[in-house]
Symmetry: C2
Subunit: 329 residues, 2 copies
């Protein structure tokens, strides 16, 4: 850390962020660098994701949940690769609305998730921007040497699985914008998912040991499965009606006339932060056992075949997609 | 990498950034993570600095130089700690003005400095923001285990040194804003320093082997020396008239009536990206030899004493400072 910017930045670092620092490697955030000792036999794995106000979170979102979302979208990346996280560097680009109470709330959100996910702050930068707030995190974790799951290992005969449920990212944004009519408890659950998605960190070791290819679902289930197909040089058949849906998602589906179009929206909406992966079809029973032990929902949504691209079916009929991924900004 | 944002981000990654990726550890930027093998016997050193349009660079600055400044302010942090850099993660928050030609220019600036400083892109995130552009880099380097110079090692009897020249950051901003009247070649040199400061990477190994405490001068020479004094629990006497000044700085000094006030502006202006450090006074001759071998200017500006804080003198008389550091934003 140390900021070049003195409009409250030194105080922000000393009072709000230094208490979050890794006891040793973060150097109390009083130095310009973090120092992480080598861990022989392990690879260091890094990911970096940014959130921008008005794009990835809403101006009225409380800053403690913005901080949590920031960590969680990065935690989701590492979990999907089978990696155990330990620390992060943080860049805060505060907007004018980020006064001391907002910064306190942000630090509280970080503290809460540091405790929940066992990570520490290592360093970073804090500055004020004349525009909307934005934040970025570089998250670091360890993996046994050579054991990070890639995108390119899917093989014909593998099955395609996804953890948790798909579509709450899409519905959560609509709910946060006040554009959904559902029971209040459903709306609240969706808004909570939008603000604080839950990364599947408990499933990381299963992915590490059993997946042939994996990623987290951020662009949309179909688009992200397409990334695996492309990187692996294979085709993937996806049965869209198998897309796992939450209770809120079920309630929303019941309000739709065109069920296929509704499923398509859920499977292309993105912002889900679940893990999509491929594994030998013969391992399905073992995977189900591991998921059940962790109380994680696991759904087989398709299979890997020779060829290229994603072929989507709905109740057995081929589907022509209007859009595959998630665009915004 | 992989962006959640599809408004040109996939193309930006594939065409502009993937060619900059580390041949192995960056995974071609097609995965969500970078994977860096452990280097037994070495510590991994990380730093993260951000640049915001309108704060750290000007809206009219060419984007190739913005990219270079972004890398260089981070390279300066590692150089000042005696650390050899190898790679970085990048977050681009593009503004509306960042079309394809601007993004191309940005990538060209990165490519130029990757070559000059021997580093590679490892991953990151690219998004569009409705506000001013901002960028952040997490730069990584190796240091022999336990050999990263801290801020807290200064001891009474040490001398205080600074590389290069001080004040061109302050004057460079004025020049870029059109607020200086000097010969054209001086103005051009100052603007170039503002846009593309030169980190003292060649001096990093000298710092590593000989400094007791060090940092790079970003907040202002006096403020940054104050950081060393505070962290080390010592006092520092600084002879302000010894502040090393460039030819452009000399020319500017000659236009000033109050020489002491002018030196104070240079020594508090910041954005210099030189290395300030302490070392045993007895090592001065050896330090000078190392600096000369590398064609680097080295100036002894003060000494470490018992006590606390920075005592600034100008031509032997104590100076009461109006301001010690650099504030903006």
């Amino acid at each position: 850390m140390p900021a070049v910017d003195v409009s409250g930045e030194f105080e922000t670092i000393a009072k709000l962020l230094a208490p979050l620092a890794h006891p040793e490697w973060g150097r109390g955030l009083v130095d310009d660098v973090a120092v992480v000792p080598s861990r022989p036999g392990f690879d260091l794995v890094l990911t970096k994701d940014a959130l921008v106000e008005g794009v990835h979170f809403l101006p009225e979102d409380p800053l403690d949940t913005v901080a949590q979302k920031l960590l969680r979208v990065n935690l989701s990346d590492l979990a999907s690769k089978g990696v155990e996280p330990f620390g992060y560097l943080l860049a805060c680009h505060w907007s004018q609305r980020c006064g001391w109470p907002e910064r306190q709330a942000f630090a509280e959100g970080l503290a809460r998730d540091q405790k929940e996910f066992g990570i520490h702050l290592l360093g970073g930068d804090t500055v004020v921007t004349p525009g909307p707030a934005s934040f970025s995190v570089t998250l670091m974790g360890w993996a046994k040497a050579g054991r990070v799951v890639a995108r390119n290992g899917a093989r014909p005969g593998d099955a395609v699985f996804v953890t948790g449920q798909i579509g709450d990212g899409f519905l959560g944004l609509k709910a946060a914008q006040g554009a959904l009519t559902l029971a209040l408890e459903r709306i609240e659950a969706l808004i909570d998912h939008y603000r604080r998605p839950m990364p599947q960190t408990a499933f990381a070791e299963v992915v590490r040991d059993m997946a042939t290819a994996s990623l987290d679902v951020s662009d949309g289930l179909i688009a992200d499965i397409g990334h695996i197909a492309e990187a692996s040089g294979v085709g993937i058949e996806l049965d869209m009606e198998r897309t796992p849906v939450s209770l809120a998602g079920q309630a929303w589906l019941e309000t739709r006339v065109d069920r296929q179009a509704a499923f398509e929206q859920l499977a292309t909406g993105g912002d889900d932060y679940e893990i999509a992966f491929t594994a030998p079809a013969a391992d399905e029973a073992a995977l189900r056992r591991e998921a059940e032990r962790r109380h994680i929902r696991l759904t087989r949504v398709g299979q890997v075949v020779a060829g290229a691209g994603v072929r989507v079916r709905f109740e057995g009929r081929p589907v022509e997609l209007a859009r595959a991924g998630w665009t915004h900004g």
